[in-house]
């Protein structure tokens, strides 16, 4: 399934200027792997820690959550709290 992943603008330098990347994936884990396959430079930010917003719900670390073509998906820097 093709999903559209919105990147924060600081990542555009790593994707040749693309703000939205389309990849084939059905879970967050597959999505992250596919992002790196398509844009190897994204390995750095993903290793540093990312959260994923799926339809406004922020997945802080869950790699198993499903993603689909109908979802609004945003990659976010990993959240930290106090």
């Amino acid at each position: 399934m093709t999903v559209k992943v919105h990147l924060w603008s600081g990542l555009r330098a790593l994707t040749g200027g693309q703000a939205v990347v389309e990849v084939e994936a059905s879970t967050i884990a597959e999505m992250l792997r596919a992002l790196v396959r398509q844009h190897p430079a994204l390995q750095g930010p993903i290793d540093a820690g990312v959260s994923v917003s799926v339809d406004g719900r922020i997945m802080a670390s869950d790699l198993t959550a499903p993603v689909g073509a109908e979802n609004e998906i945003y990659l976010m820097q990993r959240l930290r709290g106090g």
């Binding site: 919105h6 600081g10 922020i58 997945m59 802080a60 670390s61 959240l79 930290r80 709290g81 106090g82």
Partner: protein, 753 residues
């Protein structure tokens, strides 16, 4: 979409029973970090650098080691050499190791360089004087803007991660940029653009209980650690890595905690005590002095910020831009990214751009402090909004309502908001008597909104029923804000037994699966969700026992008001079977009945608040009095409203300190000048008005009872709301925190030319 089984009518949730830890705390029976002792225990003390930046040429501990009272001396060589250095936050274990015991360089005033264990606390402190350290003093930098300048001394090469653009100083270690739309085009359409710069100083979380621990580690690699902490699993994991032992061989027990606010989410003295214990082969206790707490544990970041906002005459924000530079001490981790993402989050913006920098300087490693990074950004953004309202003659609440993010708005950090409560908090503010109350001459009123993400995190909970029908609930999140009461209320709601019949224990690391730290306002949300699920799991088992007793299928039994009952007329005619009647015979009907839940809940739900503040400035002394304060915040669902109100009031009180007086003051020599409470002024009762609270409840779709975290959002609006009140009272825009009397006098003098 809400969880299918979200509950909205409650029997126990929303009531205000007595706190379960109250008697222990008022009678002195509660055991805090420094209250634990062991037979044969030694006392540890830590030698700290007097320099802000220095190469450690040589450490000679021979005189200390020869002293009869000294049983062990440790330096960096006594910790694992297998902790890898990596850029940015990827090498966080290395960063923590380097922070708890310096390697080649002392990186800030107060940085640990060696430690001793001796037969008494006094002997340990005296023995520190016998350790000779040769330092080669290096140039230092403590201010964020100076640390980014071309000629700034480099703290550590190679610490910057992938995100930092080329050409930046090596002290800039992480960079964040996000937003949407076209800000320049937006500014061109604005009727008024205000651009301004702001600074905030580092403040400390100011918990009254200093860091304290008792550690025991044998040559076999097995250890015990008792400590005051917000997260004993992260303490276990970190200490094991830093000592080079297996995680499961170190059992960590969290003591009662005398405040944390984010500052106890990492380790400082614990690995040192373990290393001393391993070397001395005896238990070692370390208790920090207040001065050590200030010098060597995490304050917040300091910040330097530039804000530009364009507005139409009708109050519509047409474009917004913010640059946020956060100084986080001599290590990566300053939350410039969080500041950037939160700063404009309350508003529904077409054009927005935010940039955050994480900058190193010769100061202690910053630690989280309630909504880390968000209060500074809110201060800068909401100050500019206030200025726009003043210049355009607009009402500050109306303008915020006009621009407020609502369900379906695109957040400044990207995604579309689900169900959120900001508009409700603003409507409550507008309708509140405080907002309509007249001000006296010399007083000013300030408004601010605030946003925080909230968090879920790994969570593991276990609930065990007793034969008499009472219940024991084991959670893994230290109780920093009344969570034992909230957990008991949620369990009572599901089980249908009285709150008083449930005892909640913060279990040690050997008792439950991994639990994330008590941070991110996650406990009532995540441990609460896990408690509800664990209680439901126990209820399933209770229903199964009733079904077996009645000889009907398990799905023909349901749970109602503490009893198993037939699920419908076709299930059979049986009297309700109370919980205690089932547990009385559980040993003979299948064994003990428990419920468990382990997961990483991912529906924390973001949170918003709006604060109203009145302030009065004395033009002769520059002293500010906060004369009235109202906090309005969305709790989703308040499980124990008294604790929720306490969180709101606590956020406001700490915000008052941060806004008016608290600051880290460094001398030209890079040494901290005010490392005791006499010189670092936190608010006392006489500084504070009664802080009124309004609990808004817009249920979080991601929690069975609708809970949103409340612990952090309350500290986001105060800096801005107070600054706006003070600025309006003084007739001059206050751009730098704290707004201490000398700073206000200087501003008044500048205003009057």
């Amino acid at each position: 979409m809400a969880l299918d089984d979200q509950k909205s009518v409650f029997k126990f949730v929303g009531t205000r029973p007595d706190r379960p830890d109250g008697l222990d705390k008022v009678t002195g029976r509660a055991k805090f970090g420094a209250d634990v002792s062991a037979a044969g225990m030694l006392h540890g003390a830590i030698l700290r650098s007097p320099y802000a930046h220095a190469r450690i040429v040589k450490i000679d501990a021979s005189k200390a080691e020869a002293h009869a009272d000294v049983k062990a001396v440790v330096t960096r060589a006594d910790f694992s050499d297998k902790v890898p250095f990596k850029p940015g936050l990827e090498g966080e274990f290395w960063n923590v190791l380097e922070n708890v015991m310096a390697g080649d360089k002392a990186l800030y005033d107060g940085h640990a360089v060696a430690a001793v264990a001796a037969t008494s606390a006094l002997a340990a402190r005296d023995a520190l004087k016998l350790i000779e350290v040769d330092y080669e003093v290096l140039p230092h930098v403590t201010e964020v803007d100076k640390a980014m300048a071309t000629d700034a001394p480099v703290i550590r090469e190679g610490a910057a991660d992938y995100s930092v653009p080329e050409g930046m100083h090596p002290n800039v270690v992480r960079y964040h940029e996000s937003g949407h739309g076209e800000v320049e085009a937006g500014f061109a359409e604005a009727d008024l653009v205000v651009e301004d710069s702001f600074t905030t100083e580092a403040t400390h979380q100011g918990y009254i209980e200093p860091h304290a621990c008792l550690a025991q580690l044998g040559a076999d690699g097995k250890g015990e650690l008792w400590c005051t902490t917000q997260g004993h699993w992260i303490a276990q994991k970190t200490c094991a890595a830093l000592l080079g032992i297996e995680t499961a061989q170190l059992r960590v027990t969290a003591s009662e905690i005398g405040g944390g606010f984010g500052g106890k989410t990492t380790v400082f003295i614990e690995p040192v005590a373990l290393a001393l214990s391993r070397k001395a082969n005896r238990p070692v206790k370390i208790v920090m002095s207040r001065s050590e707490v200030f010098r060597a544990t995490g304050p917040t970041s300091s910040a330097s910020m530039d804000i530009k906002i364009g507005m139409k005459k009708d109050g519509t924000i047409i474009a917004a831009e913010g640059i946020f530079r956060l100084q986080g001490g001599a290590f990566p981790g300053a939350p410039g990214d969080m500041t950037a993402m939160c700063a404009f989050a309350p508003y529904n913006l077409t054009n927005v751009r935010q940039v955050g920098y994480d900058v190193m300087a010769n100061r202690p490693k910053q630690a989280a402090y309630r909504a880390p990074g968000a209060p500074m950004g809110a201060f800068a953004v909401e100050s500019v909004l206030d200025e726009l309202c003043n210049q355009l003659g607009l009402d500050p609440v109306e303008v915020r309502l006009k621009n407020a993010a609502h369900d379906g708005s695109k957040a400044s950090y990207g995604p579309t908001y689900d169900q959120i409560g900001l508009v409700k908090t603003l409507e409550e503010a507008k309708a509140h008597p405080h907002y309509a109350a007249p001000l006296k001459p010399g007083q000013g009123r300030g408004i601010s909104c605030g946003f925080w993400f909230n968090h879920g995190g790994e969570t593991s909970v276990s609930l065990a029923l007793s034969e008499d029908g009472s219940a024991q609930l084991m959670v893994g999140t230290p109780d920093i804000g009344g969570s034992r009461a909230s957990m008991a209320l949620m369990a009572a709601e599901v089980l249908g037994i009285p709150y008083e019949n449930i005892r909640v224990t913060v279990a040690d690391t050997a008792t439950l699966g991994y639990n994330d730290v008590s941070h991110g306002s996650r406990v009532t949300y995540a441990s609460g969700l896990a408690t509800i699920k664990a209680a439901r799991h126990a209820v399933e088992r209770l229903c199964a026992r009733a079904a077996a007793k009645w000889g009907i299928p398990e799905d023909a039994v349901k749970w109602e008001d503490g009893c198993a009952v037939p699920s419908g007329p076709n299930a059979g005619d049986f009297d309700p079977l109370p919980l205690a009647d089932i547990t009385a015979n559980m040993g003979a009907t299948g064994g003990p009945i428990s419920g468990h839940f382990e997961a990483t809940p991912e529906g924390a739900g973001v949170s918003f608040g709006t604060h109203i503040v009145d302030a009065e400035v004395d033009p002769e002394t520059g002293k500010t009095a906060i004369t009235r304060y109202t906090v309005i915040q969305d709790a989703g669902k308040a499980i124990h409203p008294t604790y929720v109100e306490g969180q709101y009031q606590g956020g406001a009180a700490q915000g008052i300190g941060w806004a008016l007086n608290e600051e880290y003051i460094y001398g030209e020599d890079g040494r901290l000048q005010n490392s005791i409470f006499l010189d670092y002024r936190i608010p006392v009762a006489s500084d504070l008005p009664m802080i009124d609270t309004v609990i808004v409840e817009v249920p979080n779709p991601g929690h069975p009872f609708g809970v949103r975290g409340v612990g952090e959002t309350g500290i986001v609006p105060p800096l801005a709301a107070i600054a706006n009140a003070v600025s309006n009272a003084a007739g001059v825009r206050m751009r730098d925190l704290p707004m201490s009397p000398p700073r206000i006098l200087a501003a008044l003098k500048a205003r009057d030319g």
